[in-house]
Amino acid sequence: MLRLDDVSKVYRAGAFGGRELRAVSGVSFDVNAGEVVSLIGESGSGKSTLGRMILRLTPVSSGAITFDGTDIRALRSPKAYYRQVQGVFQDPFSCYNPVFKADRVFAMIKDEYFPRVAAAEWRERVEGALRGVRLDPGQVLGRYPHQLSGGQLQRMLIARAVLLDIRLLVADEIISMLDASTRIDVLNLLADLRAGGLGILFVTHDLSLGTYVSDRTVVLRHGSVVETGPTDLVFANPLHPYTRSLLAAVPRLHARWDEEEADPGETPCPYHGSPEGARTRPGLAEAEPGHFAACSGCAEGAGAPRKLAKEKA
């Protein structure tokens, strides 16, 4: 459904746009219908930039993003695209126009996409969507953004996206604002939607609950994919030191801390330590079916960053 092919993004930074900042470089992955792909990486690794490019809010510098085989740059009607692809942003507070009531985000959708739906029926739909994200409609409708909490605003945005029966959702760190019980409700909602055929790009900076519901995982570091594959394979057998350090940072009940402390420097580089024939994607070697990893920054990697041994996040 959605395919990213060698996508890069270069921002012009500095006083006169002289400096260049590579926020995303050469990222490729797919999101299929009914599939949850989690995009993991520390903050600043380019996750939001990728999400914004998929949502056509930021132009792609090179490479291509296609939806159902059509390059999204060449789309004739962005409006029709947004009927199928929606996003929920990271910062719920800045998603609301402070001058207006928060429920205007629903009204906008109605104005643009459902002008003929009767007011009463629309209200019913909105209330249904709000209950779906465990919100009491009476408590959030008719209030101003500053009167609502970040979690409430975030869930309203999810409800908004759900109102348009979309096929792909870009969810940018949507559960970091929520408390534990709401998190589970929202994740259950996403699971229901996925069962209905929704594809979800689940963006997160840590290995929170979300990664356990995902089918595939893409680990992003400094704008490039360092490891990707089916979630169970990546988690059971993390190849890249960075993935390992992410995993080690998650406290687990059944394992003691010291068992997690294996020195990543001793393991062979997942790319240069692999047979030539396994290097089937640019910069990535396939260790298991569908499980790819990049160079760990070993001595053989030309111009690669230094060893990651000490970089435990």
């Binding site: 949502l55 809010l57 009927r83 800045s94 126009n97 402070p98 001058v99 429920d103 959708i109 629309w122």
Partner: protein
């Protein structure tokens, strides 16, 4: 006014308007400012109708102090200062509204477009803005006025409007530029809203008091430029304006002669109108900004 154009089915327009009105009426600053402006506007509209002679007619004794017959006294030549005042108010409002309004329109069109579109469009518009900005506007006005020889309030307002918009465009561009990157603008894009609508319904309401303030300054600026033109003798050949009255009073040494009634009314008139608009602006800010509203 850009009162909450949140046109939705759930909150029908009348309800939204009623709410804004509710807060507007409870705001002392807004009401007080509005009252002053309306009083002066009424004087400008109704005043001249109640006077049977023209503002420049020599109707009374020279240099008479205010009295029951001539409320604001008379000039050195026996013209009725009150008549001049109400006629002058009329042309002042007209020049302010037309000149300031035209400048605001151009400034908004250029500022919003440049700030929202960015890139090449921004660069081209910026260049045009800078050219108009460095043009010695008054000189252009002088030359155009002198050569075209058209001396009506309308033409005066047109020239003022065409030359005084650049700073407004720059200010609006800067504001738009910072608002454009806010997520709610992206959310509107994700909702399929088109650019002009995003500018009008998402960006402009966030700077409504700023826009109003800009208009006030353009209004005041237009009044002052018009007064300067009047002083050099390039004002409207017919009628009066508050600026013309002030300059006449200065020219004939009203201050030194102790004829305070000649220069106080026009000076107070300009100050009161612009000051009241400013107070209204502060009040409007509170009405538009729900956070301020609750304090």
């Amino acid at each position: 006014m850009t009162t909450t154009p949140a046109v939705t089915e759930e909150t029908p327009v009348p309800a939204v308007r009623r709410e804004a009105l509710h807060f507007a009426l409870r705001n002392g600053k807004l009401v007080a400012g509005l009252v002053v402006v309306v009083v002066f506007l009424a004087a400008a509209v109704v005043g001249p109708m109640t006077i049977s002679y023209g503002p420049n007619d020599y109707v009374g004794p020279a240099m008479a102090a205010p009295s029951g017959e001539y409320w604001f006294g008379t000039t050195m030549f026996g013209q009725d200062v009150f008549a001049q005042f109400v006629y002058g108010l009329r042309s002042t409002f007209l020049v302010g509204v037309l000149g300031g309004g035209l400048a605001a329109l151009i400034g908004m069109a250029v500022g919003f477009t440049a700030g929202y579109r960015g890139g090449l469009v921004d660069e081209v518009l910026n260049m045009i803005t800078n050219i108009v900005l460095v043009l010695p506007a008054l000189v252009v006005l002088l030359v155009a006025n002198a050569y075209l020889g058209v001396r009506s309030i309308g033409v005066q307002a047109l020239f003022i409007g065409l030359t005084s918009w650049p700073w407004a465009a720059r200010a609006i561009r800067a504001q738009t530029f910072s608002l454009r990157s806010r997520d709610f603008v992206d959310l509107a894009r994700l909702s399929g809203v088109r650019t002009p609508r995003i500018i009008v319904r998402e960006i402009a309401p966030n700077m409504s008091s700023y826009l109003f303030m800009t208009f006030i300054l353009l209004f005041g600026g237009a009044v002052l430029v018009a007064a300067s033109l009047d002083f050099i003798g390039l004002g409207p050949t017919q009628g009066v304006s508050l600026g013309l009255m002030l300059n006449n009073a200065a020219r004939w040494s009203a201050l030194q002669l102790g004829m305070w009634w000649w220069f106080v009314p026009p000076g107070a008139g300009i100050t009161a109108v612009v000051g009241a608009l400013y107070v209204m602006n502060v009040g409007l800010d509170e009405v538009f900004n729900p956070k301020l509203r609750e304090m």
